[in-house]
Symmetry: C2
Subunit: 707 residues, 2 copies
């Protein structure tokens, strides 16, 4: 898409005052009939104009032979005709002055080059009239509050959604529809719904941007196979974070087969999945890995209460359930902190056989004496210091008679604490669950899902707060490096200027100078040939390590020069780099690369087999600030190594964070002219002693190239 | 429990011909009334004897004042009286000749030492009469086929179970009940149910053993906080594996807080959770981490079809769903292998725009033309080579009218392939789901759960086959090492005899001899002081590495002896161990320890930070064979390192497996006299060059101690 094209709001896809349907059908089960039926059933108050040259009336509404005949320019037109007729329809809509068109029809870019060419014509025609397009090959949009249903999704057959605080934006119509169905089953009100299909014009990023500004939305469930416009995407995510809207994302195409299928499904650039992981963390997007997780977390977020810490109180009537929940909470990173000994004593006094620490086990006795249960929960809330409590009830509330009195007892306990999250695990018929939900309880069937959702709330809530604390990052000016070949020594000089720390090194021009430099640096040293022409120094014998005295240094430097002259007589030699042999510290790998979607990204991992065997690396889009660098470092599985294990001292994580920030600024400043930077290894020394890059390479873009 | 006590079958808890209820109540909601109600409702054909001294009749049945008055010795007695009266009741049952008693009452070992003492008296009384006990503090047992309900579980209020091929054995009554409820909701027939509570006599292990022999059971769902009788437990698991019964286990107390809560909940020894993980893998037990996973896997296993390989065909009508499923399948370790190009061409001919590789996307067109769907699926089954296919249908089948024709189309496709697994993801009301299940389809709502369950089937099925291939392991005779202190040299000698490989080393008695030995071994060498009195050689300067020539070796050995004499004048010196300095290979840590539950276990992990930072270790109960050793090695996260990464050659994994097997036999043979063995590091050299232990320590039990 041409980014010079001025942005138009998506209002016509969500809040049209008038709707035309090209290909309108009397049969309510057909694609051209279904939206009409929904619009009528929902009581949509705007004008509805069926367009069908063969009929005077469709589903009881006056029909028009053409959009040209409509009494007004429609805000939105739904196009439900075979692909061969779509271009004419789009052109007619544009001519009639429609603001937007939703194209349900398939048979475009998803089918091959011919379809893609046809799709480009749709866009060109729409653009020439300033009209926006949704689709083609999409399932449209809806706004449940005003009863606008610009979709033929079958899930609306069962019931129309309620206009809650949830929104869905999905590239896949089938997926978006499915999630809307599941949300409805879970009692979540889906207010806005947008599916983008082939994304000829409007895409998921733009949908997110529109939704991020809506005051009546606090949860957005998203689905995409790839992102095409990273600037709009990141702007949308920033805005959502700033406006404290939870974005819960299903990004598919993680696996090799999945990514391959994604390519065959749409033309989206897939990007590296690890980069998406980094972007989501950087922008406080919760990445769901299963659909049920997406629904669970959305359900929890819809309540709008985010715990400020990760302390969880567990209330149970059965020790076994309590243990299981404590295990699950630990897996999810929650802190099952015990209550104060005074509070425990108070509970013990109420029931001598109870376990009052946490999990608090009031035993089955509390089922027989519900005042005991109320009292227990009240003590946990008053004196436990928990923002959230999970109460485990299993299938007991499934009994309709018992369920009511249990609910009353729980309400009595929590009435004074509206700011706390009370999560109950209950397996019971839906109407019983709804009765609890109406009283403000969050209900999960599975305890594991409950604590996962709670952990997600803690993470998302913390991310909202982070957004306000992080200082903005400014890109500085930079010399264009396009087309330059940089030796190790050049690369280190450039990066040192950018703020990366290196050991004190000397580029010696002769064996004698090398020996002198080594004496100053201190023994032992490493000697390396320096030439922009030689990428693999070791292979030609251009590196000597652990050189211990002046005589060896002089002879070694001569030997390296001799070997180089033999192996690469053509190479321009800058000299011999003399470096100290540093010991102690943890080896890290730090680098940048140019992601096909997000541009310059910074990678970090621990050196050696951690990266090779475990792919234990994290990414961030450049540039970023120091707090983000610290979060990035803490994300790797091997973080414990930096904290100090096996009697090793803690590493200088702060200096490592400085290096990441500096590199991210460098990468952002050189987004166009630098392809990649490798700092391998970076020696992260004990705390207070810094993080030094021992080697550096910079790959530059060819001169005159554009990214 | 006294293991000398002869075993009695658990038949009385599952197949009694007569049931007495002490504390029988007219109120069907009370603990003493509920089982009577269930027994009557279920049409139990045996005799039912309410015992209540205050009534002549209970719930319409003739009541007896005491068990002594019963017309026959009952097979089982349910005891539902306060804890203070339980001992009298148990004694009376024993005297009257009952075979077993189920004690619902709480107030025993779970409440403290006083209760534990009372519980011991129950056991003593029962034993003296040859009567078995279930509980106390338990929820009893049932057998749905004969309508025997020896339980007061509230879940039976809703409906009585159907007698399917599933069984539940659970230490926690509440958990067992909850799982039975969820199984019922999922349409799984629970035939046998046993909850063991405080496990004064009958425990989960024994319940498993009984169930493992039942021809009418093929899936056992189990729950335990800890195992007290490992021999019976492992016998039961072996038998279940041999009889091809899937055991799906929820073992709680994994986390620190969870384990602590487990201790407060029962008196069970928790054991190390990593050891439980090892035991489960060794005995082909599927360890569920969430309750919904436990139900999902049980549901899949109940079908009794285990795919022989992990190739999965994915059928979808929406590309997005297909990609998501491919991602989930990859996460679960399944192979989304493409169809042959011929088969793909056949599908392309049917529908040009489809994606025919795998995921096979027939697009929404197949919903409009169901014969197309049938044809597609048939081609996948005939020509895809898939044992299992997942078809993704989302909420489309929720429409009752469409659902029937879709079902017919699917049935038509699969009719000729009864041995294949056809899994459908469907979100629809229960009655619609049941209709599909009746036709043999497995139905999951969530795709992620579906592929996880399928991966579990592959794993469990492979485990059944493994059982038949692995040769039994025989423990050899062994010299008792109790009370002996073994120097490094002693330990290596003993272990070398047991089959562990070490480098060629020489124990030199003098500096001169050390120099001579080093010359023979080859330079450089390591020199180490050898004394059973000195555990930490390095601390006293008793180790020299990288000794490069004869002169240094002589002087170094003398220096070591001198340092040792100064630091530890009392120590008995065996000599100087001269070893080659080996390079190349991957360092592993191998060891044995004595688990409080399972006795001698073997641990394996990669050396260095892998173990420290990632706790990447696996366990097995000793002894085991080579195939098991290979599985063990492949389980660690860092396995890729042994396979060869970063240009390193593949390691000699086979030699490592030999070492593990040898060590496991040693550990088993020395179960009583060896506390632990540490081989750290074991250098796993490139393939064909062996795995050599570079250091060895053996900690022995004190003389005369019992394990």
């Amino acid at each position: 898409m041409d980014s010079a094209q001025p942005m138009t709001s998506l209002d016509s896809f969500f809040r049209p005052r008038s709707v035309a349907v090209i290909g309108a059908s009397d049969e309510a089960a057909r694609i051209g009939g279904r939206p009409l039926r929904y619009l009528r059933e929902s009581g949509f108050r705007g004008a509805i104009y069926p367009v069908n040259p063969k009929r005077g009336e469709v589903q009881g509404l006056k029909a028009y032979a053409s959009v040209h005949d409509l009494p007004e320019a429609p805000d939105i037109v739904l196009i439900a005709v075979p692909s061969a007729h779509v271009l004419d329809a789009v052109t007619a809509c544009g001519e009639r002055g429609a603001t937007g068109a939703i194209i349900f029809s398939a048979g475009f870019a998803e089918t091959g080059e011919e379809g893609a060419a046809l799709q480009r014509k749709l866009v060109a025609s729409a653009r020439s009239h300033g009209m926006r397009l949704l689709g083609p090959n999409c399932l449209g949009s809806f706004n449940a509050e005003i009863g606008f249903y610009g979709t033929f999704s079958q899930i609306l057959d069962a019931r129309l959604p309620t206009a809650g605080a949830t929104a869905i934006v999905s590239q896949s119509g089938a997926y978006g529809s499915h999630v809307a169905y599941l949300a409805g089953e879970r009692g979540l009100g889906v207010r806005y719904f947008l599916t983008t299909g082939n994304e000829a014009d409007v895409d998921v990023a733009e949908g997110l941007l529109w939704l991020a500004e809506r005051p009546d939305v606090n949860v957005i469930m998203a689905y995409a196979e790839g992102i095409k416009r990273p600037d709009i995407f990141l702007e949308a995510l920033s805005l959502a974070r700033q406006n404290r809207k939870a974005v819960i994302f299903m990004k598919v195409g993680r696996s090799v087969v999945g990514a391959k299928a994604a390519e065959s499904h749409t033309a989206a650039l897939a990007g590296s999945d690890a980069v998406y992981d980094g972007v989501f963390r950087q922008y406080n997007v919760y990445r769901a890995h299963t659909t049920s997780e997406q629904i669970d977390v959305a359900y929890a977020c819809a309540r709008g209460v985010y715990p400020t810490h990760n302390r969880l109180g567990i209330f149970t009537l059965s020790g076994g359930f309590g243990i299981q929940m404590a295990d699950a909470a630990a897996d999810a990173g929650l802190d099952v902190a015990p209550m104060s000994s005074e509070a425990q004593a108070e509970l013990k006094a109420l029931l001598p056989y109870a376990s009052p620490a946490n999990p608090v086990d009031a035993t089955a006795q509390a089922l027989g004496d519900l005042t005991l249960m109320s009292r227990y929960l009240a003590v946990m809330l008053e004196r436990g210091g928990y923002d959230a409590i999970v109460g485990i009830f299993g299938s007991s509330p499934a009994s309709p008679t018992f369920s009511g009195s249990l609910r009353a007892a729980l309400e009595a306990a929590v009435a004074r604490f509206p700011d706390r999250l009370l999560i109950l695990t209950i397996s019971a018929p839906r109407e019983i669950v709804r009765a609890y939900e109406e009283k403000g309880f969050l209900i999960f069937e599975d305890g594991h899902s409950a604590v996962n959702a709670l952990a997600a709330l803690v993470q998302i809530g913390a991310g909202f707060d982070v957004a306000q604390n992080e200082a903005p990052v400014v890109r500085g000016p930079a010399v264009n490096l396009s087309g330059r070949r940089l030796s190790e020594s050049d690369a280190k000089r450039v990066l040192r200027e950018a703020g990366i720390a290196f050991p004190r090194e000397v580029l010696a021009k002769s064996p004698e100078a090398a020996a002198g430099a080594a004496r100053e640096i201190g023994w032992p040293v490493a000697l390396k040939i320096v030439s922009a022409d030689i990428a693999h120094k070791t292979e030609i014998g251009g590196v000597l390590l652990n050189v211990g005295n002046e005589e060896d240094a002089r002879a070694g430097a001569a030997l390296i020069l001799e070997r180089t002259a033999r192996a690469r007589p053509d190479a321009v030699i800058d000299g011999i780099l003399v470096s100290p042999m540093l010991k102690g510290g943890v080896e890290a790998i730090v680098g940048t690369s140019r992601d096909p979607v997000f541009g310059p990204v910074v990678m970090f991992g621990l050196g050696g087999i951690f990266v090779e065997a475990l792919r234990d690396v994290v990414f961030r889009v450049a540039p970023f600030g120091k707090a983000e660098a610290h979060r990035m470092i803490a994300e790797i599985k091997g973080y414990r190594v930096l904290q100090g294990v096996r009697g090793m001292p803690p590493s200088d994580i702060d200096a490592l964070a400085d290096a990441l920030v500096a590199l991210s600024r460098f990468a952002a400043a050189h987004a166009d002219d630098v392809l990649s930077v490798d700092l391998n290894p970076v020696l992260v020394r004990p705390r207070g002693e810094g993080a030094l890059a021992l080697d550096a390479t910079i790959a530059t873009a060819p001169q005159g190239s554009t990214p």
